[in-house]
């Protein structure tokens, strides 16, 4: 882990408020408010989609209507009923045509990225990270395409993939998260606007980390990202997803779907740092994050690893999962969920063991401060055919203050006698002794808390790619501001 820079980043982090709270003034090309079949057709037409995809969307929309009563209520989160007709489902920054270089990008967009501290040029030069920048719903800049295409890696907006690689999209879209999967996934299937598409061909190790910055911008626009990543036989890819959003009073709905497919001997590493606007100290505002993320280890010896640092959103409902179909496949879930003030997080994973000798590992670190409620909800399911399946689960909760809550809800279903399933859980508080010890060495109470929490999260932080680990450590400090003293 980044011992060297840890103290600096923590120092900087604790003095910051949510600094990404600003709104860029760009005229939106927006669909009328509300959701009916014409909205779905509008979106599909905007994207110039083939008929099969329009039909796919319409099927999803009709199923969603049938599911009107099936909005999930089992999660330990409370929020007022969402009026799905009181929202916009499509908004795109205005642009004339496809852009070839950054010079053609709206300067206001670039300014926004600069405020976020992620100028594309700098990233291209310094980090060697290919960035598919999603601004609102339409991708406006894609970089490093040449380098990637040399290796045959496809990394582009999914709307572009629909046009250029329809056979891949058609084959895999909805194959991991079926249209009818759940209320939010079905909604997403009907109205998804854009997202990322990745295909790594057989035997290719993707030469760089793939990164997408998501950003919600236009007011009251639900954000429906759709991401599809396919790692063909023997390939490897690491994908980074990081999010920031401007400050808003109204609650904003975000219902993304991410599907990962790993074939024989392939590995996908998917890392997320999520710091969407969590609402203010009084619980006003903030993003609703209802996401369906699932990976299928289809092939033998395949591996999917989810690492997430969840610090933002007013409400998080998220269970990145692995379906371990291939024999000897591996699923991993490393999670840090930090909730402060009035944030609510119900997050965890599902590990479905189907193939022989499949292994899964779950490390979850939940931190609650203020009045926040954090729940780990996880399912480990071993199917009859999963001989020799193994799971290890560790859920640790850390409480800061007297008014927050932490809950652990493990579900374990084992239908094969040879399976080994382990579950460990702890709940602890930052002790007065630890705080005094740090303060006696010259650290402020806030810096001490950040340091202790970063230590608590270390097992997960070290799973993140280096540059993400640094950002994540900063976020830990920002997220816990005002929780001590």
């Amino acid at each position: 882990m980044a011992n060297i820079s840890e103290s600096e980043t923590i120092g900087a982090a604790t003095t910051e408020r949510y600094k990404y709270g600003f709104v860029t003034d760009i005229e939106s090309d927006t669909a009328p408010k509300g959701l009916d079949e014409s909205t779905v057709r509008f979106i599909s037409a905007k994207k110039d989609e083939p008929d099969w995809l329009l039909q796919w969307r319409l099927k999803a929309f009709r199923q969603w209507l049938d599911k009107a009563d099936e909005e999930p209520t089992w999660a330990k989160v409370n929020y007022p009923k969402i009026d799905y007709q009181d929202s916009y489902y499509y908004s795109a920054p205005k642009q004339q045509e496809t852009l070839n270089s950054l010079d053609e990008v709206d300067p206001k967009l670039l300014e926004t990225y600069n405020k976020l501290g992620i100028p594309l040029q700098e990233q291209m030069m310094l980090a060697g990270v290919a960035v598919d920048a999603v601004f609102d719903s339409v991708s406006v800049a894609t970089t490093f395409k040449e380098e990637l295409s040399k290796h045959g890696v496809i990394f582009c907006p999914i709307s572009e993939a629909v046009q250029k690689h329809p056979e891949l999209v058609k084959k895999y879209l909805g194959s991991v998260v079926p249209v009818a999967d759940n209320f939010f996934a079905t909604l997403n299937s009907a109205v998804f606007t854009d997202g990322s598409f990745v295909y790594v061909p057989e035997g290719v190790r993707c030469p760089m980390e793939l990164s997408t910055y998501f950003r919600i911008n236009a007011a009251q626009t639900g954000q429906f990202e759709r991401t599809l990543i396919i790692a063909d036989k023997g390939s490897y890819v690491s994908y980074l997803e990081g999010c920031t959003a401007p400050m808003r009073d109204e609650h904003q709905l975000h219902a993304a779907v991410v599907e990962l497919i790993a074939l024989d001997d392939a590995e996908i590493k998917y890392s997320t740092v999520q710091n969407w606007y969590p609402g203010d100290e009084n619980g006003k505002g903030g993003i609703y994050n209802f996401v369906t993320k699932r990976g299928a280890c289809r092939g033998r010896n395949s591996k999917i690893s989810w690492t997430q640092v969840e610090t933002g959103s007013a409400i998080t409902w998220k269970y990145p999962s692995c379906i371990l179909q291939g024999d000897n496949s591996v699923g991993e879930f490393y999670s840090i969920a930090i909730t402060n003030n009035f944030q609510q997080a119900d997050t965890g994973t599902k590990m479905i063991h189907m193939g022989k000798d499949t292994k899964s590992r779950i490390i979850s670190k939940g931190i609650s401060a203020g009045h926040a409620e954090s729940t780990y909800r996880g399912l480990v399911k071993v199917m009859p055919g999963a001989t020799g399946a193994r799971n290890f689960t560790q859920c640790d909760s850390l409480l800061i203050g007297e008014k927050c809550g932490a809950h652990t809800v493990p579900y374990i279903e084992v239908r094969n006698k040879t399976a080994q399933v382990e579950h460990e859980a702890t709940t602890s508080k930052i002790s007065d002794d630890q705080l005094l010890y740090c303060r006696q060495r010259g650290l402020s109470a806030e810096d001490a808390t950040t340091l202790i929490v970063n230590g608590f999260c270390r097992q997960v932080l070290q799973e993140l790619p280096m540059e993400f680990a640094v950002e994540a450590q900063k976020l830990v400090g920002i997220s816990l501001e005002g929780s001590v003293g």
Binding site: M1, N3, I4, S5, E6, S7, I10, G11, S431, D432, D433, Q434, L436, Y437, C438, R439, Q440, R441, G442, L443, S444, A445, D447, L451, I452, N454, G455, F456, C457, R458, Q459
Partner: protein, 252 residues
């Protein structure tokens, strides 16, 4: 001589119960004072009051440090101003590398003094020098703070921190407890190496054996929340021979 610490008629309560009942003690720069006393006499309370621990409330009297009121300062400000407490029971901080912890502390103090913070390379060079004196390996200082440390390792890590942070006033709370003779010698060497005309030390101990290796300028006996006797090194030897019982009922 410069007065480092001046304690006058100090009364302090822990959770509302008075433990210190009128302590008077003056420590000058360059001096090493030992405070001895039986269990429950208020030794550790004194160290926590000086460090500023929550729940240890000064009810009467004053503590001046370098001529200014100490009690008004937050614990971290006291630390940055040069007060170091070597804890009797150093606490574990899982997942936080010892070097990271110490570098954060070191730079917090430098920043407070208006000095430039050290970068990772400079810091590592410095800590390597100091750890050698205390017979500590790179591996030991990189481990999570105090996690899985033996009693001796914990105390050595405290001494390493003291050597790095170079305090003006070091308070050593039962630093000898739980140490075998070899570890005791190493720790004592560490303390002696830091004796300096500009630095004051307050050693709190139950037994006099540490004082064989770190010879104090003054010895005070704390009993019933008060200093009942003061003297030089020979006082510690007398106590060793006769036991705290000679102090009478106040020490019981």
């Amino acid at each position: 001589m410069t007065v480092m610490l001046e304690i006058k008629d100090l009364h302090a309560a822990v959770n509302g119960k008075e433990v210190l009942k009128g302590i008077n003690l003056t420590i000058n720069a360059g001096e090493v004072h030992a405070v001895m006393g039986p269990n429950g006499s208020g030794k550790s309370t004194l160290s926590y009051v000086l460090a500023g621990r929550d729940g240890y409330d000064v009810t009467q009297g004053s503590v001046m440090y370098k001529g200014a009121d100490l009690i008004a300062l937050a614990p971290e400000i006291r630390a940055r101003e040069g007060i170091f407490l070597a804890f009797q029971y150093p606490v574990e901080i899982p997942g936080v590398a010892g070097t990271t912890f110490l570098k954060t502390a070191y730079n917090a103090i430098r920043k407070h003094r208006g000095e430039k913070e050290l970068d990772a390379m400079q810091f590592l060079k410095l800590i390597r020098e100091k750890q050698k004196q205390l017979d500590m390996t790179d591996e030991m200082v990189r481990r999570a703070v105090n996690v899985g440390f033996s009693g001796g390792e914990k105390k050595r890590y405290e001494m390493l921190q003291m050597a790095m942070l170079e305090p003006a006033l070091a308070i050593l709370d039962e630093t000898d407890s739980g140490l075998d003779i070899d570890a005791l010698k190493t720790v004592a060497d560490g303390i002696n190496a830091l004796r300096d005309p500009g630095r004051a030390m307050l050693m709190i101990t139950h037994y006099q054996r540490l004082l064989d290796y770190v010879v104090p300028d003054f010895v005070h006996v704390l009993a019933g929340g008060k200093i009942v006797r003061s003297g030089d090194k020979s006082l510690a030897l007398d106590l060793e021979k006769e036991g705290y019982a000679v102090l009478g009922t106040a020490a019981a």
